[in-house]
Symmetry: D2
Subunit: 353 residues, 4 copies
């Protein structure tokens, strides 16, 4: 049952990313939702909105609760979201007298969006690190191989000679900007979601904003206004993912062109085998970079469609995000991995000039 190459037991070895996959397992999602529910109860206890004992009991339950997947699946099929059933099961787990204090004043979107952000946070950190490592690798290539003379090509024709350093600098400079962009957007992205039924933090004795602040503190996320209908930070992040995979796609396309036998200005380590031709060594990693870039650039359109989030919650637009963003993360993660391998095994060969 593997529609997606990112989940496929075989193809994910080529196209997937383990770190992203772990973050988007059903288990990880449930754990993050329970983390939210626990922190929410704690915050509400701190603010005196629920009894301290309730928060303790809810926290214990959240720490130990493993709901049955089949029941959650059945609930989602009916409700369109995991939260109603999960909350119901958690309330049973918590039991009286505190059952009603679970998910108090919250709504499905609070739990699910905050779960997403909790899991994005380490991925954002990891992507930043991986990007830095790739930049360092490219710098090393420039230092070691930068003096190699290549042929510059414009419009697919030989133009004038360049140095390998020029080529690699053209690959590297966008990555610096991507690092910079990530630093700019992460503060906007990693914000808790807490708004209640219609996003106004109602029914909380006027302490909604204070609860939000405490919740953010506990979850080590940023605080901010409820963003349940404001999906721009997710769309911006999706754009960043596609900018990164696009920059890596340019590297892949260049490498695939330079590795053509007649050009051979690049030699690659570890080419792919052919089932028909033993003599071949295919630039598989370079091609995959192109594939992933074209894939992400297309999916980005769907994430932006979801900006049209009607009323106080759009089932249609919100669900669309679920179909798109995890894939874009996986594709970018896989692209970072391939870029590292391709560049790590790349040797420039002086052009015939």
């Amino acid at each position: 049952m593997t529609i997606s190459v990112f989940d496929h037991p075989i193809l994910s070895a080529l196209l997937g990313d383990e770190e992203v996959s772990s973050a988007f397992s059903a288990e990880a999602d449930i754990r993050a939702i329970l983390t939210f529910e626990k922190a929410l109860a704690s915050a509400q206890a701190v603010l005196g909105v629920i009894p301290a004992e309730a928060a303790v009991r809810i926290g214990e339950a959240c720490d130990n609760f493993s709901p049955e997947i089949a029941i959650l699946a059945s609930g989602v099929a009916q409700d369109g979201v995991i939260a109603p059933t999960l909350v119901k099961l958690l309330r049973e787990e918590v039991a009286e007298p505190y059952a009603a204090k679970v998910h108090f004043g919250a709504t499905s979107q609070d739990a699910i969006d905050t779960s997403l952000v909790l899991r994005l946070k380490p991925l954002v950190g990891s992507f930043a690190t991986r990007l830095d490592a790739l930049i360092a690798l490219l710098r090393a290539i420039e230092a070691e191989q930068g003096a190699t003379l290549l042929m510059g090509r414009t419009r697919m024709q030989r133009a004038l000679p360049i140095h390998a350093a020029d080529k690699v600098r053209g690959w590297r400079e966008p990555l610096h900007r991507h690092s910079c962009r990530l630093a700019e957007l992460r503060e906007r992205l990693l914000i808790i979601q807490f708004g209640g039924a219609v996003g106004v933090r109602g029914g909380l004795e006027g302490r909604g904003d204070a609860i939000a602040a405490e919740l953010a503190r506990l979850l080590e996320l940023n605080n901010g206004p409820c963003w349940q209908v404001q999906r721009d930070c997710l769309a911006e992040f999706a754009g960043w993912l596609s900018l990164v995979s696009g920059a890596l796609g340019k590297i892949g396309q260049d490498v695939a062109i330079l590795a053509q036998n007649e050009i051979s200005e690049v030699k690659l380590a570890g080419g792919g085998a052919s089932s028909a031709m033993a003599h071949k060594s295919n630039p598989v990693g370079a091609e995959i970079l192109v594939t992933l870039a074209r894939f992400n650039s297309t999916l980005l359109a769907a994430q932006h469609q979801s900006l049209i989030h009607e009323n106080e919650r759009s089932g249609a637009a919100w669900t669309l995000e679920w179909l798109v963003l995890p894939q874009m993360l996986a594709a970018t993660g896989a692209a970072l991995r391939h870029a590292s391998t391709v560049c790590g095994g790349l040797r420039f060969v002086a052009a015939a000039v």
Copy 2:
């Protein structure tokens, strides 16, 4: 490890389609590839290109062989395709003196594309059946509820009264055309792939075309020229999938609008619950139809990008198809399922006119 909602143990209950998922399991893919390899050997034996004993031995091996997933994954990570490792393993299984007769004159794309078509064939049949059933359901609604007076709305404003029959006919008529289109395209789509290393059926003593004809007969697929660089039939089919999900998305959008409390010209069976508001009954199925339509229409762009399939095989463009087409099938399958449920539980209520 579930990036995709279609593979997700919980969310697939809402957004997935079991039939499509089964067709795209790794196991089903491997089985279909082995079916191809067996039939290829049989065809080549019939044509005298390999010994009859070789075909027998290969067929036995294909029937019983279950390669280890981890080895295939490791091969794919290196080669970009499953076939080189799978063929190598199968040759070991077949063993001498016939090992070299496995996959004889064939290439990875022959095995993988034909595997795809083998699995598309029953899905095409099933989608046709499901479409017919939906048409029949809509006809029944017209017959039973068609006389109900609704308000016609244009540009989101009340216009003039219509009958429910008018509304439902507007939903149904595109589905007839989709049936017709499927009949037209299925003959072009369900064609074996057999071309060898560069698509010219070389190295087969001039019997490549005869082998292809026999192969098609054995696999109960259509015969035709090698299409390894001609991806139009897959793109056309992807377009069909999006036409269908788009038609169902229009139904979903209409239903979600008519089910608004203030309009209430539609009552739905089995609405979704809210984690915050007990009084609500959400038109989840209708919203999901909109989600799936917007998703497919976006993905279609990626499938069309893959038409630019350079040279005699494009690793970049071909791989892109793998990321896209299975998802589109799953989304359309899920949409057919939801459309059936939504329409099956729908009751028109006379408008205040």
Copy 3:
């Protein structure tokens, strides 16, 4: 004031198509709307729904009327469609006693959609002819140059030799299917739109269907049910346009690769000059084919989004089509032109094998 390259006084020489541009001038649109209004009046007179004299007077007015563009623009800015103001002006032109018989029982969408179809009809014919000519050109190349030995390349690496005939056949065969597809879809596409305010042909003394039949006869279009909310035939046609430009994009990509200096298996007539390097000859036409293919494949997603056409007329979804379909026609027209030039000036050169 030229946002679009297709309308740009300079860039359209590279990227535009005169035939498509003529069909989509404001003047052509107005003329086609007036043709619709005249035929509608004639049909209604034949059926006795309006007096014969009214039809004569309306026909005269339609033949001679040239509404002021600025007034129409002002009307569109208010109404979102051209028809209300155009009909108002036409009624003034017709004057009493027949003013009210203009656009009788019709709605904006009838006039505008039928105008579109009236202008698509000759374009469909022309595209079929241009496709046939390109197929014939490719056949001639196969006949004349087919024996030239080229290097087959898979995954951007040299594989095994092929003949130029193999390469060209891979370009040509999809075009045959595109011809076939166009023949299939044109009957569905070239259908009059006539439904009245909410698409049910109301207020016409029960003669709506008979009027539609006569209207189709007069306009030499097909008759069929009102399709104002059923946009599948336009989306299907958009898919066809992108299939064609995609097939031509594959030709362009192949040519650009084969024309690389180090490969030189293709020589092109009339390459483009560089402002910096006098020695260069750029494969401009081949690159443009790739550009147009990638453009159309993206736009196709927007045309499919418009399938979600809510209620009895969606201002949002309908308008979206206006932004998309003309561009796709122009891009495909330009691609057919470039493909013809590129292939017409192409000479294969035997590969070093």
Copy 4:
């Protein structure tokens, strides 16, 4: 000859934006290219790379030169870019002995990309201003009408009451972030392009970087490394345009829903007329906001495809940008205009709660 609604003499009144159209006229492009060429000569004279007299003569010629459009069009059709012919004509205008000093050490992309940035600069400023004005308008609505009780709706169903202030704040807050994002990206975006034939500022006696710095100073743009193969800042800006139109599309969708007759929680000034139903008042502006958002989100995918800019200049990928970015600017400009009109004429009406 108007394929695009943005250029259409009638439809641009609905869908166009005059400011963007002016910036993208052929005349404006030529003027900006000539501004670049003049500044380049001045910078090179300052650095002693060309004689001061040459710069004076080139400057005079650039100030007064109006090349014939037909000749440029003919050149573009051949070369794929305007620059070779324009430079040739300008050299004839400058005449000996300084003709060869025109466009010295520069390439087509330098002239055309810098021309783009020169024209983007005022548009970026204008969009910032228009965004601020819209934010101020929304603030005023909150102040004046914020206390009106509306019904909050989730998943298209009545949920719990909210205030108009909550609704409007949900519209406004993303716009603040868009302002912030624009401030972040504008420094990266508004950078001169100057790289010469292959982007390494060669053939300039080692003074390429100094020329670039002086050129940036003269053009009042930022200086930076040559970005001819690094298209991320354009793609990022395209993403911003779609974020803005997406945020406005959400406003439009909300308004269209609230303006439904049965809901009527919003009254709009100046609705559109229907050609069939005198009683209607259509929320045209609100619908157009949805149209433009869906359009831009789709086009964004094409702009991101162009990140895969192979080698030292990609004719295919670069040209694709020309087909996309101007349209996105026009769509966003039009969306800002409509949002201002829709919100300016909007009156909330207390919900029946």
